[in-house]
């Protein structure tokens, strides 16, 4: 695990990845296990339909809790999944360059025959790999829970919804990576990326309620994450591409800024 920067960075994630995986898995399975109780109460859906704003903020606007997709979207994919992916991704992304720089280990790392570009790309790859592992845990947990409560759920659709969450996590993780690469400041990177994430979430949840600016939600990455409902309909290519494109642009910005600045002692 000390072969190269990529594996070393993955090794650094092991502890947080383990705990995060356990927590992610437990929350997911417990949520799924509650499905039989909720699907028995159709009145709940009617109740939810009357509080559109609240439902959009806490349930992604999904009001039909009686179907597996409606229930999972509302209880899992609209809020819990993005929160868990984003916290992990932002923590990893902000630490990738700025973390090493603040701890003072970046100088020694870069005194080896490697380049800033190499270090940055390998750190990015390690972050994406961590998100991928969490995604696999999420996917498996949903399937395990669904099997226990005998939920009728497509394995492929569950994978696609998870993949959409991974794209969203990667986009924000890369935003944190770019901020850390550009400034060398981990705290700033976490704060800004976190604030942008929260703002983006509420934009996607609330802007569509105002008819005049309905389309405004399209500025939010969350729109591309869940608007097309990948759990029911599969990944919508254009939306997935928007999230992947955001990550690519941010990696480019990270490389560009990191290559050009002085490193802190």
């Amino acid at each position: 695990m000390l072969r190269n920067v990529f594996l070393k960075s993955l090794r650094d994630q092991r502890r947080s990845l383990t705990y995060w995986g356990i927590g992610f898995s437990a929350l997911t399975i417990i949520t799924v296990l509650f499905y039989p109780f909720m699907s028995d109460v159709p009145e709940l859906s009617e109740l939810l339909e009357q509080n559109e704003a609240l439902v959009r903020v806490f349930g992604g606007g999904f009001t039909d809790l009686t179907s597996p997709e409606g229930y999972l979207n509302s209880q899992l994919y609209s809020l819990l999944v993005p929160i868990l992916f984003l916290i992990f991704a932002i923590a990893q992304g902000s630490g990738a360059i700025a973390g090493e720089e603040e701890r003072g280990t970046l100088d020694i790392l870069l005194s080896n025959p490697t380049t800033r570009l190499q270090v940055l790309l390998q750190k990015f790859a390690a972050m994406v790999t961590g998100i991928l592992m969490l995604g696999l845990v999420l996917w498996a947990s949903v399937l395990i829970g669904a099997a226990i409560v005998d939920m009728d759920l497509s394995i492929v659709r569950a994978a696609e919804a998870t993949l959409s969450g991974m794209f969203l996590g990667t986009a924000f993780g890369t935003l944190a990576l770019a901020l850390g690469s550009a400034t060398g400041k981990r705290g700033l990177s976490i704060a800004v990326a976190g604030a942008v994430a929260i703002a983006a979430y509420f934009i996607n949840a609330l802007v569509p309620l105002v008819e005049a600016i309905e389309k405004g939600a399209m500025v939010s990455p969350f729109y591309y994450y869940i608007e097309a409902d990948p759990l029911s309909n599969g990944l919508y290519p254009a939306h997935a591409a928007a999230l992947v494109g955001m990550s690519i642009v941010l990696v480019a910005i990270a490389v560009f800024t990191f290559e050009r600045r002085d490193l802190a002692v």
């Binding site: 920067v5 870069l110 025959p113 490697t114």
Partner: protein
Amino acid sequence: MSAIIQTHDLSKSYNGHLAVSNVNLEVQEGEVFGYLGPNGAGKTTTIRTLLDFIRPTSGSASIFGLDSRANSREIKRRLAYLPGDIMLYEKLTGREALTYTANLRGGVDWRFVADLAERLECDLTREIRSLSRGNKQKVGLVKAFMTKPELLIMDEPSTGLDPLMQQEFYRLIEEVKAEGRTVFISSHNMPEVERVCNRVGIIRRGVLVAVEDVAALRERALHELEFHFAAPVATADFANLPGVSDVTVEDDVLRCRVMGKPDALIKAVARHEVVKLVSREPHLEDVFLSYYGEGESHAT
């Protein structure tokens, strides 16, 4: 002999403050070069510019004849760097930290590593975070020496080492020198530079004020001598002796300074009965200060 490190009017400023100003350094192959200056003089800034961690405001640097910015990767394949304030991965053991470096550098001779660790009394089995400042420094030294680089760049390398380990470190430097490899050491400690370096460059407030041969400096060193005689002596007896200056006589005590050969003074003194001789070995820093007329004095 060819230049291993060369800087051309290298300048670096931070927020309008000039940290390094038009430095022209030339370090030759096979020499141990001391980069001496008080803290904050610009030593670390120069070094970090050489390593492309920071970029010059103007001027340029080359190492092994390669541009420090364009060919940084190739340069780093051939050098090792020990930072002034060593920071290693806290959660790794010493051995793991060295393994990571070895992997990034394409391997290392582990028998040599074991030998270095033994000589520096460095425990590689413990986690870095449990080590004292000095013990971390030892891991850093092993890391720097283990790849047998063509060039070693070390920022304040003996910081935190106890005197015995400092001596061992000096021996390691001498071995590197004997193998014809090059060493660049920054230090604020003149006796250290005097002990291990062939040449010394003095940096003050970002300006390289002098580059001197250590042996030549030593020859120019003023020795302070104090003779106590059995009976009072006359000042005239010691006037106009070659190489002797600042002569003062108080009854039976003569104080003076000697540069170079003390022969004439000894012969003049020998005409009287000497009961006591006090000699002060000068620090080269004082030599520098007197030679370059810098008013400041620095404790060593």
